[in-house]
């Protein structure tokens, strides 16, 4: 960056006209909660599936005063999260953080942070398939008509078939929700554990699907209801054991295979939440005892 003659990107990579187009789509998305606004998704310097929709939304929203956090399946340390943070640090000189509380914009792939979000934050979701009815009805013209007519019977039939086959609603992620009593929406492939957090959230939630060229949104303090039946009410996942590192019983846990003898551990998927709890002194069954910590063994 020291060589001013070197070609450089526009702030936050996208050109200004693209940002305006995305910004107009975002405003309409906020005005029609849960409705998927078509937008002219651009090619990004990464393949589809790496969060091109979320990145375009973030690029259109973020400014020099923002602090960005990126999580991938709850973790700040995975490839997708690290590379997107680096991308915005490079093309916008954006300050990045792993602390949920410090971030003003949080881009996420498939989790909502365990820490409650505030009015001063924006949560940007990366979405692969924005259309909740797509696997039930492949034609876009049909699903569009179904949304127009508020014809969501097919989705209830799908959930009912779950019950008749498995005895319960077996959908565990991308669990359909109804936003403000009108549009049925795909919350992106977040675990259904996170669905209740979307309801009446203080933060603005924006969704970007790059390949499918759709943007949608949930304004703050908006009713988000997970679809269910009176006799089969919506419920979230529960685990028999607490997090092996921080001992919490109320966060979403990942199963980690430890060896080929059936050894396994359950650990928080939200890496910042887990690290924060450990720093506060919480310990789990597999935590290292600080008193016993020895020098790192060379590989």
């Amino acid at each position: 960056m020291s060589n001013s003659a070197a070609p450089s990107y526009n702030f936050a990579y996208l050109d200004e006209q693209t940002k305006r187009m995305i910004r107009r789509a975002l405003l309409k998305a906020v005005a029609i909660p849960g409705y998927q606004v078509p937008f002219a998704s651009r090619e990004m310097p990464m393949p589809y599936g790496w969060g091109t929709g979320g990145i375009q939304v973030t690029a259109a929203v973020i400014g020099p005063d923002d602090c960005l956090k990126v999580i991938d399946q709850g973790s700040d340390d995975t490839t997708n999260a690290v590379s997107i943070r680096k991308f915005f640090a490079k093309v916008g000189d954006i300050e990045t953080t792993e602390e949920t509380e410090r971030a003003t914009v949080i881009q996420t792939r498939h989790r909502i942070p365990e820490t409650e979000l505030t009015e001063d934050q924006i949560l940007v979701y990366q979405v692969p398939i924005p259309e909740p009815l797509r696997f039930l009805e492949p034609k876009e013209t049909e699903t569009r008509k179904m949304h127009a007519l508020e014809e969501y019977g097919l989705m209830h039939v799908k959930l009912y078939e779950d019950i008749s086959q498995h005895g319960e609603i077996a959908t565990t992620y991308a669990y359909p929700v109804k936003v403000d009593g009108r549009y049925v929406m795909d919350p992106s492939p977040t675990p259904k554990f996170d669905n209740p957090k979307m309801n009446n959230m203080a933060a603005l939630q924006l969704f970007g699907a790059g390949r499918e060229k759709r943007i949608y949104a949930i304004p703050p303090y908006t009713e988000v209801v997970s679809l269910d039946f009176d006799d089969h009410p919506f419920s979230i996942q529960k685990w028999d054991e607490p997090c092996a590192l921080c001992g919490t019983r109320d966060s979403f846990l990942d199963e980690v295979i430890l060896d080929d003898q059936g050894g396994r551990m359950f650990v928080c998927s939200d890496s910042h939440h887990c690290a924060k709890r450990q720093a506060e002194g919480h310990r789990g069954a597999l935590s290292a005892d600080p008193a016993l910590e020895t020098e790192e063994v060379a590989p």
Binding site: F11, E16, R24, A31, T222
Partner: protein
Amino acid sequence: MNYSTSPSALGFDNPVFDATATFRTVLEAMSRPATIQSIRHVPDAPSGIGPATAAVLLALADMDTPVWLAPEVASDTLRTYLHFHAGCPVTDAPEAAVFALLGRESDLGVIDKLAIGSAEYPDRSATVIIDCESLSSDPGQNFTGPGIKDTASFDIPGFPPAIWYLVDRNQALFPLGLDWIFTAGSQLAALPRTSKRGS
């Protein structure tokens, strides 16, 4: 069309960062309806419209968005300004407008001619920008709906009360309808079509 090619007023100091900041203010206003927001970096505005109105148009309008101007505000100065800084077409057909700009004395009859979207594409609707004298958060009109925690109070002092009739009628069209941005000076407030006026 015989426009002067150089505008009488400069636009944003920094077109990239000021447009971003203005958009964030509009996004905040649209996400938290009926709250009054201030635009931090307003552009130099031509006479006849307020700085917040100029900021919103420069931040959001471009060659893809026909803008309709009410006769009271449609001066040559403003046309030149928009052509130069935003590059947006100014249309005479309200039904083609993506943004419609009205002044405090404009005839509200045009509201009925603006695009409200279709059942399959409710997003293809106009955004109405009304340049007002002042905005007030004193108890006046009360709103509920998405983005509003309990209720939000908002009023436009001195504006014809007929506007509330239009806002109500527009809200009843949901998910179709217009979205409203009210500006005054460097402030603005928004009412998306979801905001319901209570007693």
